[in-house]
């Protein structure tokens, strides 16, 4: 079980407190949505997991161990834009992950290993429905297809945690629905932990098994930067459980449910 834990995490940029008192345990296999208004530190939370940013206080642990403070292959990411490499074809983009892992100096594969890597890449490209476009450059793909490619590329390395930073934010509603239909089975089959930041509440509820909301609850009118965002809601969205609000464990919520029924 890979668990991602936040232990009393604070993030500050200079005087500005962005996140405060974040305590969070994310079980392996969770599909976690993070929602909240702009500037509530959603992307900062993602950057913490990515290792791009260090917490000012507290610690972020993967399986109880702190991870290196730089992005690595155990955590994949799909950004809203610029996720794919414009100078590589669809196949080249997916292939790159394998090439980087196996040849430290040249980062290129030749012969038999290359054939094997191409086979694996093609399977992934087919899984995201891009097999017709394997030799195209990203600039010839639509926004939705580029995001499909970015997903294929990210899961090629079997990351333990896949981070999605508003991945479907720039897509039209129809394409977005297609992407939802794509990501859910992928998540189920690969048993990854997914952390998705989104602005779309419907998407957040529709895809995730757990949802947290970040918001600034405390305000100081004289010094608005002194209080950061905290987790204001933490909802379990799996089918057979009650929805626990912050401060309730699942068991308490269930017993609470029963008392209601008795009345």
């Amino acid at each position: 079980m890979s668990t991602l834990s936040f232990r009393n995490v604070w993030v500050e940029y200079g005087d500005q407190v962005v996140l405060e008192r974040i305590n969070l345990e994310i079980d392996s296999g969770t599909f976690l949505s993070v929602v909240g208004p702009s500037g509530a530190g959603k992307s900062t939370l993602l950057q913490l997991i990515l290792g791009q940013r260090r917490p000012t206080q507290g610690s972020v642990l993967l399986d109880g161990k702190p991870f290196p403070a730089e992005p690595g292959p155990d955590r994949g990411i799909v950004f809203q834009r610029y996720s794919v490499f414009p100078h590589l074809t669809v196949l080249g983009n997916v292939l790159l992950g394998y090439e980087l892992a196996e040849r430290a100096f040249t980062a290129r594969l030749l012969g038999e290993p290359r054939r094997k890597a191409i086979e694996k890449s093609l399977a992934l490209i087919e899984a995201v429905g891009l097999d017709q476009h394997r030799d195209k450059y990203p600039s010839a793909l639509s926004g939705g297809m580029q995001q499909r490619l970015a997903i294929a590329q990210a899961i090629a390395k079997h990351p333990r945690v896949l981070l999605l930073d508003e991945p479907f934010g720039a897509l039209d509603p129809g394409t977005r629905a297609q992407m939802h239909a794509l990501i859910k089975p992928l998540w189920r089959d690969l048993k990854m932990t997914i952390v998705m930041v989104t602005h779309d509440i419907k998407e957040a509820f529709g895809l995730a098994t757990r949802l947290i909301a970040l918001d600034r609850v405390r305000h100081d009118p004289q010094a608005p930067e002194r209080f950061g965002a905290m987790i204001t809601y933490d909802l379990d969205l799996t089918r057979d459980s009650a929805v626990p609000v912050l401060g309730f464990t699942k068991a308490e919520a269930k017993s609470g449910h029963k008392t209601l029924e008795r009345n």
Partner: protein, 269 residues
């Protein structure tokens, strides 16, 4: 604004100003010859063709060389060496400065200051240090061109979306791998674009250096025959240099299109 010429019309329109200039020259030349049969300033085209034939096809009486070809090889060799080394240095330093904050902090200011040194001002120093041979001319081109390349490449690398570098790292790339598989290929079209712009300055430095001290070269020849007011040599040489520069530019465009089709897809639309 909305009227676009077709392919044939485009070629005719492009040729038109050249033809016009040629006609004006011919008229001017005839006019001056009519007034003074010994005029040297605007030799008629027939005379220039005659001289060009001699330069191209007849060995020089003194040295036995075919003058134009000797000059062209000498100059192009210097130019290619200079531009090639400048591109290599510019690429390496530019990527390092743009990608690695440590290198940026270390070299960034140095390059910014060095790029302000007028290359022609250090030419005497080069002649003193490297002598009057090939090396000083090549070094002058390198000194003149490299700082521009370094600055442009490093800015371009720094302007690359952070997302790409992070994405590459999440795919397991080391810094070296990011540099050679993500940054380098994406920066190559930009390097070629820069080199195209630097062809002009490179020729400027080359011809200046040749004018001062050389025993062969396009610039050397022009400045040599200047003493005899040989416009019939100078004008064809200038045209020839221009043609060479133009062809070099064209070659770079074609290389870029062929090698980096993804960078030109947007232009085609």
């Amino acid at each position: 604004m909305n009227v676009a010429p077709g392919r044939g019309a485009r070629i005719i329109l492009a040729m038109l100003p050249f033809i016009l200039i040629a006609i004006i020259y011919v008229i001017g030349s005839a006019e001056r010859r009519a007034a003074n049969p010994d005029d040297k300033l605007l030799p008629p085209i027939s005379e220039m063709v005659e001289t060009s034939k001699r330069l191209v096809a007849e060995p020089d009486r003194r040295s036995g060389d075919y003058v134009l070809w000797t000059d062209t090889t000498a100059s192009l060799q210097r130019l290619a060496l200079g531009l090639g080394i400048a591109a290599l240095v510019g690429l390496t330093l530019g990527v390092a400065i743009g990608l690695l904050p440590v290198a940026g902090a270390g070299f960034g200011t140095l390059v910014a200051v060095l790029s302000m040194i007028p290359p022609m001002a250090v030419l005497p120093i080069l002649f003193i240090i490297f002598g009057l041979g090939e090396l000083s001319k090549v070094v002058l081109i390198i000194i003149g061109v490299t700082p521009m390349l370094v600055r442009d490449i490093s800015l371009e690398v720094a302007a690359m979306p952070r997302e790409q570098l992070i994405k590459a790292q999440t795919l397991g790339a080391s810094t070296w791998q990011v540099a050679i598989r993500v940054v380098l290929p994406q920066i190559m079209p930009r390097l070629i674009k820069c080199l195209r712009l630097m062809i002009g300055p490179a020729f400027l430095f080359l011809i200046s250096a040749e004018a001062i001290a050389a025993d062969a070269g396009l610039g050397y020849r022009i400045f040599l025959v200047r003493r005899y007011l040989s416009m019939d040599v100078i004008l064809p040489y200038v045209a020839w240099i221009t043609l060479l520069a133009y062809l070099l530019d064209l070659a770079l465009v074609l290389i870029s299109r062929r090698a980096f089709p993804w960078a030109h897809e947007r232009e085609a639309r």
